[in-house]
Structures are given as C-alpha cells and as structure tokens.
Amino acid sequence: MLSAQERAHVAQVWDLIAGHEAAFGAELLLRLFTVYPSTKIYFKHLGVCPDEAQLLTHGQRLLEAVGVAVQHTDHLRAALSPLADLHAQVLRVDPANFPLLIQCFHVMLASHLQGEFTVQMQAAWDKFLTEVAMVLTEKYQ
C-alpha cells in the first residue's frame, strides 16, 4: 500500500510520461532489450531487431497499462485483473523479468528527470512498480 506522499510522487512522475506513452514505452523496451537481451524471447513477434514503429506501438500499450495502474493505486488487483489473467495464462513471463523492466524504468526516469529524480521519488516509484509486478504475477500458481 502506498502512503499519500508516495502516491503524490508516483503522480508527479506520471505527469512527465502522460501524453508521451509511446515515446517513453519505446525507450523502455529498447533499454530492456539492449541491457537484458534474454527478455526479447517474450517479444518474438517483434522480430530479432524490432524497428522503431514496433517499439512505439508496443511501448505505448505497455505504458498505457502503467497509466491505468497509476490511476488505481488503491485497488490495483481489480484494475489489473484482466492483465493478470493475460500474464498467467497467455504471456507467462517469468517473474524474474519484472525487476529487470523496473530497473530500466528507473534508469529511463533518472536520465530524463536527472536531479529531479529524487531518492523519495525513486523509492515511491520502485514500491509502486513492484506492487504492480506482484499483482500481475499473483495468479501464476
């Protein structure tokens, strides 16, 4: 559960991303695939070397889902239930991969926000994304 201040930090970070989900999503995926190449196995449909258009499309989908989570930090389980089903039954992304995506998210935010990516912001965002990952993998077993 996020405190009021943590929710405020999450909203503050989201202000940067809202309206630019495609660009941020594409950068996130590019960082993920470059730094952790094994994650590409979950995106075989994007080809060996996904082009910018594919990254933008899929990146937008990913970040729009994060946006849903941001709007529903108080009831993540309900809001993300269909996505949790999808991950458990169809995508079956090994849970070990979520921390890799989260790390890339932090690096991306840090590179855009620089000094404004304060330690409190990082802590709140980390807690939030970790909760999202937990909800998405909760129906796995």
Binding site: V35, A110, S111, Q120
Partner: protein, 147 residues
C-alpha cells in the same frame, strides 16, 4: 571470465573519467539505504539513519560511499581481470562483513540509476548495457570467494 568488447570498454572508461567519485559514491550508498532499507543492517554503527534526509546527509554514509565507489574505479581499470582484482575484497565481504552477495547486485543497479541522473541523454541504452555488464561482473567477482 567476462569479455568486454572494445565499445563496451570505451563506454565505461569515457563515462568514468567524468564521474565525481565522492559525490556519486555518497548518493549511491544513500539511495541504497533509503530504497532498500534492509541493507541498513550492515551499517548499525553509522549513527542516524532514521529518515531519508538523515541518510543522504549522514557523513559516514558519504565517506563509505566514496570508499566503495573508489574501489569500483579499480574495476574500471581491470575489466579483464575482475576476479583477481576483487579476490581479497571478496573474502573480506564474506568472512568479516558477512554481506549477502545479493546486495552487490542492488548496489550495482543503484550505480546505474545515479549515473543516469548525472549523465542524462548520454546514458544511452548501449552505455547502460556496458555498465550493467560491468556491475554484474563486479558483483560476481565479489561473490566468487564466498564459502
């Protein structure tokens, strides 16, 4: 042995030359202690770690952060020989400090995040990948002598 390409070495070395070790070291260790509070278990004698501002301003945290990052500079100089370079430190972390090697990965991740705040667009996916490879290799080297 981990093999770094010429490009990876160049990415690491050129960025490292611009790093303020004292400043970045303090930030890295401070962020580790705030974002992953259980890591504070190794620093009982560091005084006030009761709040985020206490941690980030704590002089012992800053000093130790500088020490840790200075040691990391040694990794940058010996990227082809990390296991030997960190053999003694590995034994120290196991026998004297009893640090769970998982923490080396957490610290490595923190180094990348702080570097990204400082270097911004220069911290491209390729640069991030090179640094990720280095911090992972250092983490392995530090864990190598555990028994």
């Amino acid at each position: 042995m981990v093999h770094f390409t010429a490009e990876e070495k160049a990415a690491v070395v050129s960025l490292w030359a611009k790093v303020n070790v004292e400043l970045v070291g303090g930030e890295v260790l401070g962020r580790l202690l705030v974002v992953y509070p259980w890591t504070q278990r190794f620093f009982d004698n560091f005084g006030n770690l009761s709040s985020e501002s206490a941690i980030m301003g704590n002089p012992k945290v800053k000093a130790h952060g500088k020490k840790v990052l200075t040691s990391f500079g040694n990794a940058v100089k010996h990227m082809d020989d990390l296991k030997d370079t960190f053999a003694e430190l590995s034994e120290l972390h196991c026998d004297k400090m009893h640090v769970d090697p998982e923490n080396f990965k957490l610290l490595g991740n923190m180094i990348l995040i702080v570097l990204a705040t400082h270097f911004s667009k220069e911290f491209t996916p390729q640069v991030q990948a090179a640094w990720q490879k280095l911090t992972a290799a250092v983490a392995n080297a530090l864990a190598h002598r555990y028994h």
